[in-house]
């Protein structure tokens, strides 16, 4: 009989959504009914683990028998019995359900630091983290390192803020340490708001103790007694696991009075964000914690001088903090050995869009964009052509396919007119309209502008209106110049990062895809075939068989014709939904 059976079921948000809980229950039930639980007792366990990145294949299950690990994908509860019988009892893995080659290529070029324990540790069990070296870093700094040494180590590692701005973390801590006053705060910014971004969510859900540990170390380094985690309420699982982790850390003496018997005391509170994107901006975040409307204020003073309740405050992003314990454990040199000259370490990205392998990835800084898209991501879906990569979310920009050899680091992306940002990476193909992409992001920033400053509140609205009229075929001569000048003024005159970066999607698409804008305005044509108002559907008589499939799906009743004779679309009635185009088996519908 097997000695050691370990089942790890992905229970990140993706895993849960795919039915992870039922899969766990199925394993437990199968073990019980097969008598395995009784015979191997403690050595048989089913663990929930955090996100391992490849959410598209959930539920992912590791079956580890005597140390031999096999990973299954797309697991449903009804598949469990066969796995238990064949793999665990008979020792023959179910080959057709195992992950395929692309699972491995997805992981091959990744380097996992922040995510190294995600998918391995049980986020609801502190021991699981401790068994993999967790809280060693806390012990090390509290017992063997001075605050100055701690800061020096983080400085030497070259760690920069992963929330987007890329400010050196150790320098920020040092500035906070130099501020006068005995009351200082550390805040973990877990208000991840970029559309499509789920890096921080996955880290908190998958390995909350790493974030807590990062905060403890930071607090020790610059002298904070209390910390806050500002986390969006829309992340209920992350919040729950964080609460649990804080409780466990307190029970084990990693938080609270006189931590590990030293003179250092520190504790953390959770503050829930109420869904305002702008609260990810640090001064708005502070206002929100203080119970005020989440609105940014002018800097200086910077939070590190005058932050929460008027006291010196360090705000670090989740991923930044989660890096810290590993840096302390493995040393600054190890961390600095990864990445480029100015951008050290790794960066987590949420890879989405028209890509085969979408999911959460961690790559060394400086990796080529091409490697991410074609090696890790497996290239474009449906054999289409890569058009652009949008990075940095609504504050970022589009990098055209022609520049796909660029390195992914703070400096290189900035040169492209984009940013690393918090780590959103949306892949666009030839069927994406760049004007529409810009419009999408402007819709987002306009809705999320706090309304405090005029250029952001009204300026983004006007940008959006101009983009909208272009996509509706109502663009005028001069609109592009107006977009450029208004974008530039909004960037320059806005109060906070939201407004200062909101026009980036417009400017970068205008820079690389001006012809596409011009086609909309002057030819009343959307080259990608996305903008409805610029589309017409017509039937090519020579191909139409008169099968009537299109008339049956047309919701507007716009298609007429006798059976077995060519049909016709009445343009006045057509609502351009594209249903006929999708349905026609004979390619008889022309779109354009």
């Amino acid at each position: 009989m097997n000695k050691d059976i370990l089942i790890k079921v992905c229970m990140g948000t993706g895993g849960i959504a795919a039915g992870g809980e039922a899969v766990i229950a199925a394993f437990e039930k199968a073990f019980r009914s097969a008598g395995i639980s009784a015979s191997v007792e403690k050595n048989c366990s089913v663990h929930k683990v955090g996100c391992r990145g490849f959410c598209a294949r959930d539920v992912l299950v590791d079956v580890i028998v005597n140390g031999d690990k096999f990973t299954y994908e797309y697991i449903k509860p009804d598949m469990v019995e066969r796995i238990v019988n064949a793999h665990i009892k008979a020792g023959i893995p179910v080959a057709e359900w195992l992950v395929k080659d692309d699972y491995h290529t997805f992981h091959n070029k990744q380097v996992k630091v922040v995510l190294s324990d995600c998918g391995e540790v049980d986020p609801e069990d502190i021991d699981s983290y401790i068994n993999r070296g967790g809280y060693e870093a806390t012990k090390k700094v509290l017992t063997a390192m001075s605050p100055e040494e701690t800061i020096e180590t983080v400085k030497a590692s070259g760690l920069r803020g992963r929330g987007g701005a890329g400010f050196p973390t150790g320098v920020k801590w040092e500035m906070a340490r130099r501020q006068p006053g005995s009351v200082k705060y550390i805040i973990c910014n877990a208000d991840e708001g970029d559309p499509g971004a789920f890096m921080d969510r996955s880290v908190v859900e998958g390995n909350p103790h790493a974030v807590i540990e990062g905060m403890i170390i930071g607090a020790y380094a610059f002298g904070a007694r209390y910390g806050y985690v500002y986390i969006r309420a829309e992340y209920p699982l992350a919040v729950e696991r964080l609460h649990l982790a804080l409780r466990q850390a307190r029970e084990r003496g990693f938080l609270g009075e006189k931590i590990l018997g030293t003179e250092f005391s520190f504790d953390i509170k959770i503050k829930l964000g109420a869904g305002a994107f702008v609260c990810g901006e640090e001064t708005a975040l502070i206002a929100s914690i203080e119970g005020k409307r989440g609105q940014p204020r002018a800097k200086p003073p910077f939070p590190v001088q005058k932050g929460l309740w008027g006291k010196p405050t360090v705000i670090n992003n989740v991923e930044t903090l989660a890096n810290v314990p590993y840096i302390i454990r493995k040393g600054a040199e190890w961390f600095a050995g990864m990445g480029t000259e100015k951008s050290k370490g790794t960066k987590v990205f949420a890879l989405t869009g028209k890509i085969k392998n979408s999911g959460l990835i961690e790559v060394p800084m400086g990796i080529q964009l091409r490697e991410i898209i074609f090696d890790i991501g497996g290239g474009i879906e449906g054999g289409k052509k890569l058009k652009a990569v949008q990075t940095g979310g609504p504050s970022g920009g589009c990098i055209p396919a022609s520049m796909v050899d660029t390195a992914v680091d703070y400096e290189s992306l900035a040169r492209m007119g984009s940013i690393v940002g918090s780590g959103g990476m949306v892949v666009l193909d030839e069927t994406d309209c760049m004007v529409n992409v810009a419009k999408y992001f402007l819709q987002f920033t306009q809705a999320e502008s706090c309304g405090k400053c005029v250029p952001c509140r009204v300026g983004t609205k006007r940008l959006l209106e101009i983009l909208t009229r272009i996509t509706e075929g109502k663009g005028k001569e001069g609109d592009l110049e107006l977009l450029e000048i208004l974008s530039s003024d909004v960037k320059t005159t806005s109060l906070c990062g939201l407004g200062q970066t909101a026009p980036n999607p417009v400017l970068s698409t205008l820079k690389y895809y001006r012809d596409e804008y011009e086609a909309h305005i002057f030819e009343k044509r959307c080259p990608a075939g996305v903008c409805k108002d610029l589309l017409t559907y017509s039937i090519l008589e020579e191909f139409c068989k008169g099968c009537t499939a299109c008339t049956r799906v047309c919701p507007a009743g716009a298609i007429i014709g006798e059976k077995k004779k060519p049909h016709k679309i009445i343009q006045d009635v057509c609502i351009k939904c594209g249903a006929c185009f999708e349905t026609c088996k004979f390619k008889a519908i022309k779109k354009g």
Binding site: R293, R297, S449, G451, K452, R457, G459, D489, T492
Partner: protein, 907 residues
């Protein structure tokens, strides 16, 4: 150097100065100054829509963007501190282009209906559109439109004209301490809104209206009555409480149509609901417009000749038959110094009696009696502006936020700057929200509370030994022995305040370097009011909190000129300037000044006059602008006394409850119809200016007195009010250095003995008028009435925010009556439960003197066993319940703050 109208030139240390260049000009400013302020100080214009120097910087409108050398992007001048060596450029083609974009963006979301907009000509957005010559709009697009109208009675809120500068939100929170509005929604849909977009329901101070740069916020009563370019502006002083707020009356077609206030004033431009929106009484159709003589049972209109002749005839007859002391006069705390001076001069010189008094008897006579005895002067020792310099404020028996709203704003400002606030009040008054310590003592137990605090201070040796030794008398063993029984435990058992809080408050007060005490009627209106005042003086003396800036004893005066009317000698024992009528040398001085023989004994106080009237020894009473038939205690008795008079003359602007009892009613002029001076609570003498003509034949009160005096055989000829003011200076040295010209700009605080004297910001610098400050041992005396089975509640009376005094003026103002329409009694939820009462229920409230019926408001404001009724409402006059015989033995002030009553539900 900056100028302040209140304090003259502000001393600015040159130590912490930095130098920057703005547009190549070298400029030195104190460290911490923003670029915008630095530019303003040097008359360099930078446009802004969201900045107000009185509010925290915001940085929202982005118009004040300037280029700073070395900075990658332009910065907002309003939020960026100037630093040494900084090089700033406030204007260049790029910046102007960006500013124009901002203006254009704002206009793209604005109705642009300047043709019919109330604010046209006074609108900052319109100004910018003009300067940037914005005609076509490149960004024309969707505009915010709102169907909902705000139905509150005061403030028109047109949010389509709002540019989201956030000034209203900030002023409401930072200055007013209310936070009734905030920005709701996000992005383009952002909107300033009360909670849940309901109608505005707040203190209606209109601070928001005053800072709004566009036509988004306006006073509803002013709509359609004249725009800024067409009005005449008249600077004057508010006719309500004693804060002395400066008003700018906007006059159109002989009507005051709007009230604003300038920033460089004692009130920093802030006003309360009454000051800003309570002006419509001036043009009320109910104003008295002609003299009225009672003929038979009814009044008949008469000519001035007829009315004055009749009064002179009757008074002369009574005087010759019963002697001058059979006549009494009540002057008015609403009238000017000049009018009050003439009034007491008329009583003393023309009638020949010292029977002159006024409503100060009912508010601060115990202050005058108490503080004058121990210090030698009985006014506020410090200035309103000095509140900001307090490190501890001790507010006792004062509902400052409602009764002295603008002084409360200074307290809130001080609090924001870090001062601590202790409040002692039986009710949870609105200012308690800002308090560090709230002592909720039982009404009438102030002496026990204060002695309890002093017990702690002496025991813990927190006294200011050096001050006591050099500046005071009477801090002896006997004094200390008197405090011995008032241990915190004993004080707790009397006052109901937990002993720990008493100790905490004592330590906080005594531990401060600059503590200010602020008190009003909660201290003075007791049968032991003078003792209360002594106790307060003792506390300040033993901690050395006197004779220096930002530390002192400050009785807040409740009416626009109650300080002045007392100063002017409208009290039975003193001539103008607190000079005793019984001192021969002083009397001779006034006989010489007035050229007449004067009576040599003290006259009757107001309550004594009424008692004398009831007894029959006082035959005639001349009342100028007071309404004792509603404001005096035990109204049944008061009205009986007034009715017993042979002859009653009332001079007022409305037919008051008292005027209805008169034999002759004379129409006087409102504050907006005359010139003169008011003296506010901080001893500041300020100019009152005429804005409109009086209605009908109504006449200035000073002219009425002169005409009458002439007919009584004592000529008073002043061709201009300034001549009266000059005579006051001759009578009282403390005003001798003032002239109308010197008062032109912001007024002067007395004493101001010589024309080159700057006035006196705070009293007792270097010593007390009586020499040394005197400690006076006082013991706790239970109030005249204690709750019993029959009358189980303690009734305390007072004011509300919206109404004023007997409502003569405020109840003529439509929006005020919309929010404060009727009398009510506040009762604690525990008591209400016992009586099965809910808010809105009708109750009968009875005391030993009478009963009234009114609506119950169940609230935790009063403690258990205490009820509160405002005295503004004639429909259920609180003073039917109060006692007219429980008087302070020294000051003769009645015990308005403690009566016992019974409350019954009326089905």
């Amino acid at each position: 150097m900056t100028q302040s109208k209140e304090l003259g030139e502000v001393n600015e240390s040159r130590v912490n100065m930095i130098t920057l260049t703005i547009n190549n000009r070298q400029i030195s400013v104190p460290a911490g100054t923003t670029i915008l302020d630095a530019a303003r100080r040097n008359e360099i214009h930078i446009p802004t829509l969201c900045d107000d120097p009185r509010l925290e910087p915001y940085g929202g409108c982005r118009l004040c963007l300037v280029q700073v050398k070395g900075m990658p992007r332009p910065v907002t001048a309003c939020t960026t501190p100037a630093t040494d060596g900084m090089e700033v450029e406030t204007s260049n083609a790029e910046i102007e282009r960006q500013r124009r974009t901002v203006v254009e963006l704002l206009l793209s979301d604005h109705p642009n209906d300047c043709m019919v907009c109330e604010k046209a000509g006074d609108c900052m957005l319109q100004e910018l559109a003009y300067f940037y010559n914005v005609r076509e709009n490149r960004f024309a697009g969707e505009r915010r439109t709102y169907a909902k109208k705000d139905m509150n009675p005061f403030i028109e809120r047109d949010m389509e004209k709002c540019i989201l500068c956030g000034k209203c939100v900030r002023v409401c929170d930072e200055v007013q301490g209310v936070a009734a509005i905030d920005i709701a929604n996000r992005g383009f849909g952002s909107k300033i809104s009360p909670p849940f977009d309901k109608d505005l329901n707040c203190e209606f101070c209109g601070q928001c209206v005053s800072v709004c740069p566009t036509g988004a916020l306006l006073g509803k009563e002013s709509l359609g009555k004249g725009r800024q370019k067409d009005v005449k502006e008249v600077e004057t002083v508010c006719p309500y409480c004693g804060c002395g707020c400066n008003l700018t009356l906007h006059v159109s077609r002989n009507e005051v149509v709007r009230v604003t206030s300038k920033q460089d004033t004692v009130n920093e431009g802030w006003l309360c609901v009454k000051g800003r929106f309570g002006f419509n009484f001036i043009s009320s159709p109910d104003r008295l417009t002609a003299p009225l003589i009672r003929k038979g049972g009814a009044f008949a209109e008469a000519s001035w000749e007829e009315a004055l002749g009749y009064i002179a005839e009757r008074l002369t007859a009574i005087k010759s038959k019963h002697g001058p002391d059979a006549i009494g006069g009540l002057a008015s705390a609403r009238c000017t110094n000049e009018e009050n001076y003439l009034f007491q001069k008329f009583m003393r010189a023309a009638i020949g009696t010292n029977n002159v008094d006024h409503c100060a008897r009912y508010c601060h006579s115990s202050t005058v009696a108490g503080l004058a005895t121990v210090f030698g002067s009985g006014a506020m020792t410090n200035s309103i502006a000095e509140i900001e310099k307090n490190d501890v404020m001790f507010v006792i028996g004062s509902n400052t936020k409602e009764s002295h709203p603008i002084i409360a704003l200074r307290m809130i400002k001080a609090k924001r700057k870090g001062a601590k606030l202790i409040i002692a009040d039986p009710r949870r008054v609105p200012l308690v929200r800002f308090a560090d310590i709230w002592l909720q003592h039982r009404p009438g137990t102030d002496v026990a509370l204060l002695n309890g605090m002093m017990h702690v201070i002496v025991k813990e040796n927190l006294v200011d030994r050096a001050f006591i030794e050099s500046m005071t008398d009477g801090f002896d063993e006997e004094f200390k022995k008197n405090l011995e029984p008032y241990s915190p435990e004993a004080a707790e058992s009397i006052t109901g305040v937990p002993k720990d809080l008493i100790v905490k408050a004592a330590r906080l007060y005594a531990g401060s370097k600059k503590a200010g005490i602020y008190y009003t009627m909660g201290i003075t209106q007791h049968a032991h009011g003078t003792d209360n005042v002594y106790a307060i003086a003792n506390l300040a003396l033993m901690t050395g909190n006197l004779g220096k800036e930002g530390a002192g004893v400050n009785p807040l005066r409740g009416q626009n000129n109650v300080q002045g009317s007392t100063d002017m000698g409208c009290i039975p024992n003193m001539y103008p300037g607190y000079q005793r009528v019984t001192v021969p040398a002083i009397r001779q001085k006034f006989e010489a000044l007035w050229n007449v023989k004067l009576p040599d004994k003290d006259g009757l106080t107001a309550p004594e006059m009424l008692m004398a009237a009831e007894k029959g020894s006082l035959k005639a009473l001349y009342i100028m602008g007071e309404n004792p038939a509603l404001s005096d205690p035990d109204l049944t008795h008061t009205v009986k006394a007034l009715k017993a008079l042979e002859f009653l003359v009332v001079q007022d602007i409305f037919m008051t409850e008292t005027a209805e009892l008169a034999h002759v009613v004379l129409p006087g002029a409102s504050f907006a119809e005359k010139v003169g001076t008011f003296t506010n609570t901080e001893r500041r003498v300020q100019r009152v200016r005429r804005a409109v003509n009086s209605p009908g034949t109504a006449m200035k009160d000073s002219l009425i007195i002169m005409e009458l005096s002439k007919r009584m055989g004592y000529e008073m000829n002043y061709s201009h009010t300034v001549e009266i003011f000059r005579e006051i200076g001759q009578a009282w040295p403390a005003l001798a250095g003032m002239s109308y010209a010197r008062l032109e700009d912001g007024g002067i605080q007395w004493p101001c003995p010589t024309p080159d004297h700057p006035g006196t910001q705070y009293l007792f610098k270097g010593g007390f008028p009586r020499g040394r400050g005197r400690f006076t041992a006082v013991t706790y005396q239970p109030s005249h009435e204690e709750p019993d089975k029959e009358y189980p509640f303690i009734l305390t009376t007072g004011r509300t925010l919206f109404q004023y005094h007997t409502g003569t003026m405020t109840r003529k103002v439509r929006p005020i009556n919309a929010v404060s329409p009727e009398p009510f009694i506040e009762i604690n939820p525990q008591d209400a439960r016992a009586l099965s009462l809910e808010s809105g229920a009708k109750v009968r409230v009875s005391s030993r003197r009478g009963s009234i019926t009114l609506k119950a408001v169940v609230t935790k404001r009063p403690g258990k066993g205490v009820v509160f009724i405002p005295f503004h409402f004639k429909e259920a006059a609180a003073n039917i319940l109060t006692s007219g015989t429980a008087l302070d033995p020294v000051a003769k002030i009645p015990s308005f703050k403690v009566s016992t009553v019974r409350v019954e539900k009326v089905s």
